[in-house]
Each structure stands twice: as C-alpha cells, then as structure tokens.
Subunit: 152 residues, 2 copies
C-alpha cells in the first residue's frame, strides 16, 4: 500500500512536461534539476514512459522529451501504471482473480472496492489539472477535510 519513488518521480516529470507545454522538447537534465531527481534514474523512467506511449523523445542537439498526448488526456493513473504495473494487486494477482474460502469469502469485494476507490482518484486527475493547480472536486473534497491530513 505504498507509492514507490519511481512512481512519484514519473508523475513529477510528467507534470513538468505538461507545464512546459508546446515549447519544444525538454532535455532530461532539465527535468532532473527541476524536480531534483537523479538524472540516470530518471532517464530509465522516461524510457518506460516512452515505451508505454505517454512520452515521446528525440535525440541530439535540440532533442529532449515531450508528452505524446495533450496533458488533459493523460491521467495520473496512466503514469503510475506505466512504471508500477497494475494498481492495487493482492499477492501479485488482480483482486477479481482471487478466490476466498469460508468466512473470508467477502474479502474479495473489499479489495475490489479498494481498487475502485483508488481509481476514482487517480483516473480523474490529469497532468493538466496538476500543472494548473485546478484539481477535480473529488481531490479537493478529500484534501479539504482536515482529518485527511492527520497521520495514522
């Protein structure tokens, strides 16, 4: 139930690209500096983002990275899945594939609900939302509840 450094980095780099917009390719070094991410590690991440079609790249002078699609068509879930694989797996299996015995029978529905609730946030928020700071209401609602900020 934790978010890896890789996923965090990937989203931050993608938002940075969204913020730059159409102003030509951005080189890895600049992304790394802007978000304080180790350059070599970031390049591996950007490669994965490229392989899953979220980002494009060109080499050489004037080269760099840019978003393959408009920023409002890329969700945080897309980015996280690209580097971490399926969201909310249980024991490396998707929740719908698990069978529970006896009194734990209904646990499956709980894991399904967990995954759905994660999706309801991550699939709603786009890179454009993040770059503009104008977040969807579901995020605002949760974030405005003081209890959400309490550690536990």
């Amino acid at each position: 139930m934790r978010v890896s450094a890789k996923a965090d980095y990937a989203v931050r780099a993608a938002v940075e690209l969204a913020a730059v917009g159409e102003d030509g390719p951005v080189k890895g070094e600049r992304l790394a500096e802007a978000q304080e991410i180790p350059l070599q590690f970031l390049e591996h991440i950007l490669l994965e983002l490229k392989h899953s079609g979220i980002v494009r790249a060109r080499r050489g002078a004037k080269g760099g990275y840019w978003l393959a699609r408009p920023a409002d068509e890329v969700s945080v879930a897309d980015v996280v899945r690209a580097v971490e694989g399926p969201i909310a797996n249980v024991q490396s299996q998707p929740p719908e594939a698990i069978e529970y015995r006896g009194s734990a029978e209904h646990l499956q529905e709980v894991w399904i609900a967990v995954r759905a609730s994660l999706r309801s946030v991550l699939e709603q928020v786009t890179l454009a939302d993040l770059a503009s700071g104008d977040l969807p209401s579901i995020v605002d609602d949760f974030a405005n509840e003081p209890d959400s900020w309490a550690p536990r």
Copy 2:
C-alpha cells in the same frame, strides 16, 4: 500500490476469529487450515496482531487466539496497519510530510486524497461486516459497478 500476502493473511485470520465469535480460543493450526495459510508464517503474523492489541492468546492445552475487542469495533484498516504499517506512504514518508517543488506542487494534495479514499473504505469495513457478509454501502456501491471488476 499492492497488498502484501501478509496483510491478506492477517485479515483472513482475523475474520475467521470474528466468525467463530465467543466460542473459546481457536488454535493457530485451525486458522491455518481454514484459510490455507502456512502455519509458521501465520504464527508470526498472529504475534504481530497480538502486539498491536487486536488479538489475545493463551498457551497450552485449550489455548489459542481470540479477538481482543468485539468484531464490530475492529476495522480492516486496523489489521492492515498492524502488519504493514502506515497506509499509502510515498517513498516511505507520509504524504503530509513531503514537499514538492515547482509545477509538481499540487501532487501532495493528490496523494493525500489517495490516502483518504483508501481510508474511507478500509476504516469503514469491520471484521463483523466481513464475517456476516453485510458490507457497508460504500463497498457495495463500488462492488456493484461492473467497471470495478474490469482489470486494468
């Protein structure tokens, strides 16, 4: 963003205890068989549950484990936290402790919302709910949406 085997086992064992109710202590071996969990591993897990006050135990003949509190006062979140630690940490830090620079500034609110949405499910569901199969509406609502069952 995945649920460990340990957390899954812990919840299943706890539900089993909830289902048995007041009928005296249940031995580890029986829990292990009922839920098909490796016995030795399960005993380590039960020990952790004991240390965090969710379960009690007695040794010797007629010994075994039972819930320390009524089943409707123990949430799935309690059990998961007991074995996995804080839910939804980012890079091993709670989301409220992270500072983001530049265009990623609002990412913090997204992680906060992610955690809050997880809590809204996991803290709502109790062991009693699971044992009876009568799940809270938030779980039902998510589980009844066909899209929630689609892999992705």
